[in-house]
């Protein structure tokens, strides 16, 4: 580009700033951590010195302390008005009792349940899956945020690798195949052995699968930015060699899961496994049909595209998450699912109707009219599985609503279920021929896909994350940042979708009235800005989520110094019995 000054280009400056942000954050983390270990070290030295000193205490000093301890410990015996019989709690039911000592800015929620036994190797595998998923969420939504900003500031950069048309599929594919898919498979490595009551068939295969999927998303993102793509079908932008890495990764996990289920210790196959295994098998069918590199000339491509993109979301993400939900929800509420049969009805109805609806993305196009009608009928049929599923989940919730306020995971579940209902039914409404007139080709579709992929899938996944990671590591996330994550994500999603849906509807109507096209672009300006604002809140919530994940993984417990007389005595007792300590 000749004599252009690079640093007068907004995009360059922003790219530099964007690169600097992780660098600065990383440096901050390093400083904070060094500081912490330094402090820990100093305290440990102090403790040693203190211990040595305590060992040397003469009887007089001990007596003094003993006396002081007694004085400090003086309390009423709490039986002045009642009984002094000891409380009998042989089953340990009275637990987690806490008293209000100061103003509570953040409500104290229930701690995670004690950790069940899970093989440490499996724990490590699951955490690797979840960690990679978090990384892809951060990457994918940073790209999404940037792409959203481009609607308000199209001249923010002039680099081919960062241009809108190339980055948009980087965003969608990274959150699909990187974030959601890895998170789901990782969670399945927890759920499937649990409900089958046997250990996972092979840990090693789990890693192969993880590596292949990561490789696919890395190669795909780079090639998309370099301008190598499959030719335009949404979510099918990776070329087939790249996508086949993903496919093989999924096959390896499928074999692993099937082997685990085959040697299960339970007679029945829990409904979670129906959903999860089917989702994986169907994804492979879908990818195979859509990517087989020797067909789909002319409109064949469009028919397959409609099938592919909708089965991708409905049969992979939705079916898989429903399966996880059938395990986690009853388990979190500590009661069985409301109706096992409703779950089974929803399962078969979903397969029957969802498979039909693909072409509803091409209504009024040149594909056969009968196929469009079948798609619309299928979309209406989707009411059955959606209502069955929602009813099942809400009825399971029923009677346990009080648990919602005391839990930091259940709100994520509930929002996911609510969006499952509204988001899916909105899809049905969009498929009607008339609504299609006003909404098709507008950003309404974008709002819809965020209500579903974000409102349903991501919220559910976060709920599952906060449920199992503390169990795997024994470390809880700070409740204030979990709350902030929840509210920022939710409010951000609403700011993102509502203005976009409103503006797009009016834009569609303007098109129908025959207003000049460019006027409808100008008209969308404020709504696109709202979308960028909502997107920023969502993006910020992911940073908090990442922090929470980090805390659940890594936070070290502090070194405790003995302070009160009792603690000092305790320490003396321990060190005298066992001088090495």
């Amino acid at each position: 580009m000749g004599n252009i000054n690079l640093f007068s280009e907004g995009g360059i400056v922003i790219t530099v700033v964007l690169i600097l942000i992780p660098v600065i954050v990383a440096s901050l983390i390093v400083i904070v951590r060094t500081n912490a270990s330094l402090r820990r070290y100093i305290k440990r030295k102090e403790l040693e010195r203190l211990t040595n000193y305590i060992k040397e205490l003469n009887p007089a000093e001990t007596e003094q302390l003993e006396k002081r301890k007694k004085e400090l410990e003086f309390t009423l015996n709490n039986a002045e008005l009642g009984t002094d019989l000891p409380t009998l709690d042989p089953k340990g039911l009275i637990d987690n009792v806490n008293t209000v000592e100061s103003i509570r800015f953040v409500q104290q929620k229930r701690k995670g349940q004690p950790r069940p036994f899970i093989e440490p190797e499996l724990t490590r595998l699951i955490l690797w899956y979840l960690g990679c998923a978090v990384a892809w969420l951060l990457f994918g939504t940073s790209v999404g945020e940037y792409v959203g900003i481009k609607f308000a500031a199209p001249d923010i950069d002039h680099l081919s690798w960062l241009s809108f048309g190339r980055l948009r599929p980087v965003h969608t594919n990274a959150v699909f195949w990187g974030w959601a898919s890895l998170a789901m498979i990782g969670l399945a490595y927890y759920v499937i052995p649990r409900v089958s009551n046997v250990p996972i068939a092979s840990i090693k295969r789990g890693y192969y699968s993880l590596i292949l999927i990561n490789a696919s998303v890395i190669a795909g993102s780079v090639s998309l930015m370099a301008g190598i793509n499959n030719g335009g079908g949404e979510y099918r932008e990776y070329i087939w060699p790249v996508m086949s890495l993903f496919g093989f990764g999924v096959i390896i996990s499928l074999v692993n899961f099937l082997k685990t289920i085959a040697k299960r210790a339970t007679r029945e196959i829990y409904v979670s496994n129906w959903y999860i295994i089917s989702a994986i098998m169907f994804l492979l069918v879908i990818a195979f049909v859509a990517y087989w590199p020797s067909w789909q000339n002319g409109l064949g491509e469009t028919i397959v595209q409609g099938y592919y993109m909708h089965q991708g979301v409905g049969m992979w993400f939705m079916l898989f998450n429903l399966g996880l939900m059938y395990y986690f929800l009853p388990q979190q509420l500590n009661k069985p699912i409301y109706s096992y049969s409703l779950g089974i009805l929803a399962f078969w109805a979903q397969i029957l109707f969802y498979t039909l609806i693909g072409t509803h993305h091409f209504i009024f196009s040149a594909i056969p009219w009968w196929l469009q009608t079948v798609a619309i009928v299928g979309s209406v049929g989707m009411v059955i599985p959606v209502v069955a599923g929602t009813t099942n989940f809400l009825m399971t919730f029923n009677g346990s609503w009080n648990k919602l306020t005391g839990s930091y995971t259940l709100p994520f579940y509930l929002i996911g279920i609510i969006f499952y209902f509204t988001g899916s039914l909105q899809g049905t409404a969009e498929a009607f021929r008339f609504t299609n007139l006003a909404w098709h080709f507008t950003d309404f579709t974008v709002a819809h896909s965020h209500l579903t992929m974000y409102g349903i899938i991501s919220f559910m996944l976060w709920g599952f994350f906060y449920t199992i990671v503390p169990r795997l590591t024994g470390k809880e996330p700070p409740q204030i940042t979990v709350g902030a994550h929840f509210w920022l994500a939710l409010i951000g999603l609403l700011f993102y979708t509502f203005p976009l849906m409103y503006g797009s509807t009016l834009r569609g109507l303007m098109w129908m009235e025959g207003k000049p096209f460019i006027d409808t672009v100008t008209f969308m300006g404020p709504y696109w800005l709202w979308r960028a604002i909502g997107g920023s809140l969502m993006w910020f919530s992911h940073i908090l989520f990442t922090y929470n994940f980090y805390v659940m993984l890594r936070r070290k417990s502090d070194v405790e110094l003995p302070k009160s007389a009792a603690e000092i005595l305790q320490l003396k007792k321990e060190t005298t019995i066992n001088p090495q300590a």
Binding site: G2, N3, S8, K150, P154, D155, H158, F164, G165, R168, G227, N229, G231, G232, G233, E234, R236, W240, P241, L258, W274, I277, S278, M281, V289, P293, S294, W295, Q296, N297, G298, L299, G300, E301, T302, I303, V304, Y307, F347, W348, I351, T355, G358, F362, I363, F364, S365, A366, I367, V374, L437, F441, D443, W511, M512, G514, P516, F517, I518, V521
Partner: protein, 336 residues
């Protein structure tokens, strides 16, 4: 039940049901479609340059914002003369072994549909400038700029195409902005995007959901009512001559204060709108806007009257009958 407790039977059945439905709604219809459709006999093949241009259209992900499909609904009428049919896409085969068929139908219309852009905006000068910096020609546009398709040189070489960019959009650039071959190819591809008319005698599919006839404005001194000139100007003229009528220096002449617009030679004025104009070397070629977009005499009159009375232009409006006569004459001589 035994069936539910046997993983082979259970998962086998679910897979079978799914594969069966897949065959019915995806595989069989797709195969039928690709085998039973042939391109229209009068469809033109893409030139080598246009084919190369299509590759960069794909690489840059233009399909994210631009559709290429005219639906059979009334609101899509502005994007083509007839609804798209399967034959329109039948000539498009797999790009190569590595990449899938690019019908580029798209699912988002953040920007305009491009099915017929080769008829609507064939000007190479406009398209190049628009690719270099869309906001230089369409102020409100949010399309990305594609400066990497251009290079800056001190001299314009033989066979090279220079792009005249307004000063506001060439900050920091000293020298001539030259279109690279990739830009020329991309424009060739855009120019090639034209709806093929159906072979003689065939009536196209109807547009559904007809819009009621628009109430016509009566700004014509009590004479026959005319459509809204401002809307028509925005749709057909403003991308070059600009919303303020001032055109772009070195590319598109102003209509504000133009002697042709303000003068009395209506024959000449109408013929320029209908058939285009290429007599002034300092400006780009104007294509046959009226003919390409099937403008009716009423619409042409409305545009003329809007141009004659806007931005300080204060010529008298013209009558529909006169314009009609001239257009009839143009059409009859063109047929001979």
């Amino acid at each position: 039940m035994e069936f539910f407790d046997n993983h082979k039977k259970l998962f086998g059945t679910a897979l079978g049901l799914f594969v069966g439905l897949t065959l019915l709604v995806a595989i069989i219809p797709a195969i039928k479609n690709q085998e039973n459709n042939a391109p229209l006999p009068n469809a033109e093949k893409l030139s080598e340059s246009a084919l190369a241009g299509k590759q960069s259209f794909i690489a840059n992900g233009c399909v994210a914002c631009h559709t290429q499909q005219v639906r059979n609904v009334d609101m899509d009428k502005i994007w083509g003369a007839r609804p798209g049919i399967a034959a329109d896409y039948a000539a498009i085969k797999r790009t190569d072994f590595w990449r899938n068929t690019a019908t580029l139908m798209g699912t988002e219309r953040t920007g305009p549909d491009l099915t017929n852009i080769g008829n609507r905006q064939p000007s190479q000068a406009w398209n190049l400038l628009h690719l270099f910096q869309p906001r230089a020609v369409v102020e409100q546009s949010i399309m990305p700029a594609y400066p990497w398709l251009f290079e800056v040189k001190n001299e314009v070489g033989k066979d090279e195409v220079e792009v005249i960019v307004p000063d506001a959009f060439r900050k920091g650039i000293s020298g001539k902005i030259i279109a690279k071959q990739e830009a020329l190819d991309l424009v060739a591809y855009l120019q090639s995007l034209k709806q093929t008319p159906l072979p003689d005698g065939q009536a196209p599919m109807e547009f559904l959901y007809k819009n009621e006839e628009k109430p016509l404005t009566t700004n014509n001194g009590g004479a026959a009512p005319l459509p809204d000139g401002k809307t028509l100007y925005t749709q057909n003229c403003a991308s070059c001559h600009q919303a303020n009528g001032e055109g772009l220096k070195g590319a598109f002449p102003p209509v504000k204060g133009s002697p042709i617009v303000m003068g009395n030679d209506l024959d000449f004025y109408v013929s320029i709108i209908m058939q285009g104009y290429d007599a002034r070397p300092e400006y780009a070629v104007m294509n046959a806007v009226g003919h390409d977009n099937n403008l009716s005499p009423e619409q042409v009159t409305a545009i003329i009257n809007y141009e004659r009375t806007s931005w300080g232009n204060n010529a008298k409006p013209v009558a529909l009958e006169e314009v009609k006569k001239i257009i009839d004459l143009i059409n009859s001589t063109a047929k001979k």
